[in-house]
Symmetry: C2
Subunit: 325 residues, 2 copies
């Protein structure tokens, strides 16, 4: 079992490789090799049983992608992308990497006769655009309101059609917003969802730029990695022709998140959150999805946290050795 | 007012140019020039007031498309495409013409700073795939089950995002099956919808390869041309960010079509239809949409026939000088 991970230096890509190394097998076969690729070279060591290699480059170059599938990996995890904010700011770059990069991967696979790998593709709930119903179900149309969402939606369409034609065996995952992201606070519009939990759990202050009644759809990094592994294991025939799945998540308000933080870490943690509305961020977030019903994915065995307390505990265990500040 | 028509030699493209010449104006401005482009050169004469030119080539070549927008037409009708059956049989050609050809057009427009034409794009109800609800509404997701439908859906996504960014002002039209097509019977799976009406109206026999309870979504060529003209005239701000619209049509069973034929032309016409099931065609048609609710398009002023008798009369008037056989 050889595995290729595109986007290996990102937070999810890195955790995915670590989880694969812990498991040691995928689809019932021992993993012999994992190659990780990203714009910057990642650093994960080989184990006794699994050779881990890393390289860096740009998926918008067809020859680069072609070389990556040269040894015909059995499973390809495609998480490589320009993020939402950058794809919106740099129209040409977003399409070049997110759309043409994905086409380059799919076409490199097609070019190899008889090679039919499982491809697990990271899509996003950004494929949906307002106005939304109360909960977005599995039949709701794709009307992205960002270039990133458009590029992800095009990837979904290609993945479904190429899979239908038997060129590869693809599954697309519309990921919820991943919370709690480890690391430093960042300036992404969605950053505060993680900041207001992660920083207080380390005894540091955090700013909440929206009102407490903002609701959003979330899952932990641990669950997100679980989605990719589960998707790799799934029987494609059971999935059927609709190859892109909205992943399960938790719909919760910011107020609910803060209440959960208080119940886990006390008011000395939740009191570190400063309410300071940022009209720009509040305006962006107002157009984001609030709630989904992910019935298809759940019926296929995907699962995520049922409470925000569980999301906090996943963060404590995975990032802080289970310790409160 | 300069107009470019891609797909000018096709049935709708030709009728569209003829209608534009009859009108003489579009968006309140006198038409000075129409250029028609297709893989084969069309033949429509200039009038006293409008210069009509034609050329032939392939939209999959960026330089060809770039030359077509050189003089910055105010309105571009993009109807050029490899048809459904051919796109399914020749995977590479379908993507090259239908997807990359459309991208070539959009990118050629973007490359010209300050040039923001209205683009009217021919999409299709093939962007939808079974299983369907009772009637497909404006919020139903795009799950094409053909490469043609996938390519059209990708064009829709690009059109919406490029329009949102102000690169051009696009409107996409999901056309119903167009009935009654003039000309000879063809081997397209959908051909029988036209054959069973057109042939008997000319005193010729026709074969019905599916059962009479098959229901489908149809509009006349006259209405289809009307959709393109109306879309060209629309205020983009009124349309909003959801730039792709399911066009109105008539949901009717084959039995209802035959009954309408009998009421218009008598049983000597309807008796010319031979029932002879073709399992292949019946199987293909079983996955086609049966019915839609096109509320958004109707609220924006698009309209089509309310009865199949009206569709037959449109054919008699437009193709047979209003005469029954």
């Amino acid at each position: 079992m050889k595995i290729l991970v595109l986007g290996a230096a990102g937070m999810i890509g890195r955790k995915l490789i670590e989880r694969l190394l812990q498991h040691g097998s995928l689809r019932g076969q021992a993993i012999s090799k994992i190659h990780g690729f990203d714009v910057v070279e990642g650093a994960i060591a080989s184990t006794d049983s699994v050779e881990v290699t890393m390289s860096a480059g740009n998926i918008s170059e067809p020859t680069v992608v072609d070389a990556l599938v040269e040894d015909q990996p059995d499973v390809i995890f495609h998480l490589a992308a320009i993020v939402s904010g950058e794809a919106e700011a740099d129209f040409e770059k977003g399409y070049r990497v997110n759309m043409r990069g994905t086409q380059n991967l799919f076409d490199a696979v097609i070019a190899r006769t008889g090679y039919v790998p499982r491809i697990v593709y990271a899509s996003s709930i950004a494929v949906f655009g307002a106005p939304f119903p109360e909960a977005i179900d599995d039949d709701f149309h794709l009307t992205p309101l960002t270039s990133y969402g458009t590029q992800k939606a095009i990837g979904e369409l290609l993945l479904a059609d190429y899979s239908r034609k038997g060129h590869f065996d693809g599954i697309g995952l519309r990921l919820p917003t991943v919370v709690v992201r480890p690391g430093k606070p960042n300036l992404a519009a969605s950053g505060f969802f993680s900041n207001i939990i992660r920083e207080p759990l380390s005894g540091l202050p955090a700013v909440l730029p929206v009102s407490e009644d903002v609701m959003h759809w979330m899952a932990s990094p641990r669950s997100a990695v679980g989605f990719f592994i589960h998707a790799a294991e799934l029987d494609g025939d059971v999935v059927g022709p609709r190859r892109n799945l909205t992943m399960p998540g938790l719909a919760i308000t910011v107020g609910g998140m803060i209440e959960a933080l208080r119940s886990v870490a006390g008011s000395k943690a939740s009191d570190l959150i400063e309410h300071k509305t940022d009209p720009t961020i509040a305006g962006i977030v107002a157009n984001w999805p609030r709630n989904f019903s992910a019935d298809r994915a759940e019926s296929l065995g995907f699962s995520s946290e049922k409470s925000f307390e569980a999301i906090i505990h996943a963060h404590l265990e995975d990032e802080l050795d289970g310790k409160l500040p």
